[in-house]
Symmetry: C2
Subunit: 299 residues, 2 copies
DNA sequence: TAAAAATACTCCATAGGTATTTTAT
DNA sequence: ATAAAATACCTATGGAGTATTTTTA
């Protein structure tokens, strides 16, 4: 049973004639006849009574006709829906963001995305990097915003922002008046850092390693704001990405001058995944938004 | 978009792999890949993300999957229904019968039909011959029971009963003691006959013509019972088919001996019409029923 | 290296075409 | 005689096969 057979069957039922059905279907009459015969053969029963002058559905044909029409109609609908959807800016985009980026980076991007793609449903989840990568693999998020680089070339990464690191120093601290610092300048200071699992901790550890610095960690937290208020209370120093600067005004932020004392943020997708228009729109927006923002953030 | 493409598509979605889908579909992997590619081409979008290790539906694929399943399922249901119905003894049979046969012939046939085909719905309409033939052509009745012969070879007729004609004579009439009569014996008698339009009138007229008899018609009615009660009241004579004999006991019934003074009843269908099992069952029953009945009726 | 999908080609089954016959009007 | 469907036969598209390459894990 093939689709063209059903189409021919419906055409014959509609026109009451093999010849007219063939004409309507743009095939030769014998071709159409053959296909109807074949269909009848497969079903083991006649679908039409050939009455010389005209052709009429048998009872069996009458039972098949509405079903055949249903099948053909639903096929067209399915096709139509797919073709319509593929170009639509609708659909859903699920974005995963690491916690040390989320509060600084997301608000403007989300705002302009929902403005530019009002039909799309945007979902954001905040997770640490390994969980985001796992969810990319599992397909439960479409895009991840996180610190690069990452391992595993099943992913495709688009870096769009490299930001310097800043030392957060108590206002009264001796180093507070410097315009730039080297990490080694802080080798005697007590450090307040993010808890393990947050990738920015790894960024920091890597930078310290490069500076042959073994920081004396006296406090750990899950968010910058806690660290910074303790720095303000003269408990020690911390290192934060540019994004977190001015989170707390009770301390000074001084640029770290070390080579590679930076953090790179990027968008990551699973390699080979096809991206809907909404997905691509989100990615484009992320890059555009950031390049527009960078001068401001860097000022 | 072809059915096998949808089948392959569902198979890949089910198995999460082109190779396994190909195995399950009993085709080679490249063949299946080609068809999926072709389907994606036609739709203008990817249905699967090829992730090297595994294959996963895209959002578009996810929208297509349930629709593809629906189409395939409904196709199977349609096929199943047709194949089931074609061998079933169910369905409806609409039978048309001429008025001069209906009351005598139908009751036993209907009884045994409904007994033998309880699932079938039997409908009976009573009409005169030309209307029955028209309805056969229009397909509003499946079988007609009427007097043969009929004109028009768009019909197929199965004669199953040839019955002699009887003269209905008042009991006190001079001819009432004869065992057999010739039509010419009645040439002086006043005739009571069926109204024009009833085919038995034509049967009678034809028989009279053959006997060179021009009957003096003094009364016409639409049914034998009226004629016979008037015969019983000594108003004249009538000619009836064997079926109507003993309809009224106030007159004598004497066999007409003339050659061809008979009426033949047959079943008629539109030539070329396919007959369901119920139709064929009805026709078989009609013949069988009658051959069983004839000795009784003829006794 | 292994496993899976894509590519390159070959083949043949069959949908579709043309010519003709059959059938019914 | 005409019109419609069936039949016979031919053609060629394209679905499916085998062999191979590419890609990714």
């Amino acid at each position: 049973m093939e689709l063209h057979q059903l189409r021919y069957f419906c055409a014959v039922a509609d026109t009451g004639s093999f010849s007219r059905a063939a004409e309507q279907s743009h095939v030769a009459q014998p071709s159409l006849s053959q296909q109807i015969l074949k269909l009848e053969d497969e079903l083991g029963a006649r679908l039409f009574d050939r009455l010389g002058r005209s052709v009429r559905l048998t009872d069996l044909g009458k039972t098949l006709l509405p079903r055949a029409r249903t099948v053909l109609r639903e096929l067209e609908e399915a096709k139509g829906e797919v073709i319509e959807r593929k170009d639509s800016a609708g659909g859903s985009v699920t974005v995963g963001v690491i916690p040390t980026v989320a509060p600084y980076f997301l608000p403007p991007v989300l705002a302009s995305f929902t403005k530019k793609f009002p039909q799309a449903r945007l979902t954001v989840v905040e997770e640490i990097t390994p969980i985001l990568l796992e969810r990319l693999r599992a397909g439960t998020i479409d895009v991840a915003i996180l610190a690069l680089p990452i391992r595993g070339h099943e992913f495709e990464a688009w870096p769009f922002l490299t930001e310097p690191l800043f030392a957060a120093i108590p206002k009264r601290h001796a180093l507070a008046k410097r315009r730039v610092l080297a990490l080694r300048d802080l080798r005697k200071e007590p450090f307040l850092v993010l808890r393990d699992g947050h990738c920015f901790r790894d960024t920091l550890v890597a930078a310290c390693d490069r500076a042959r610095l073994k920081p004396k960690i006296i406090f750990e937290s899950g968010q910058f704001s806690s660290l910074l208020s303790l720095v303000g209370a003269d408990m020690g120093v911390s290192i934060v990405p540019e994004m977190a600067v001015k989170e707390n005004t009770s301390c000074r932020y001084i640029r770290i001058g070390d080579e590679e004392a930076t953090r790179t943020i990027g968008a990551v997708v699973l390699r080979g995944r096809s991206l809907s228009r909404a997905h691509r729109g989100f990615l484009a927006l992320v890059r555009q938004e950031e390049s527009g923002r960078r001068p401001t953030a860097a000022a």
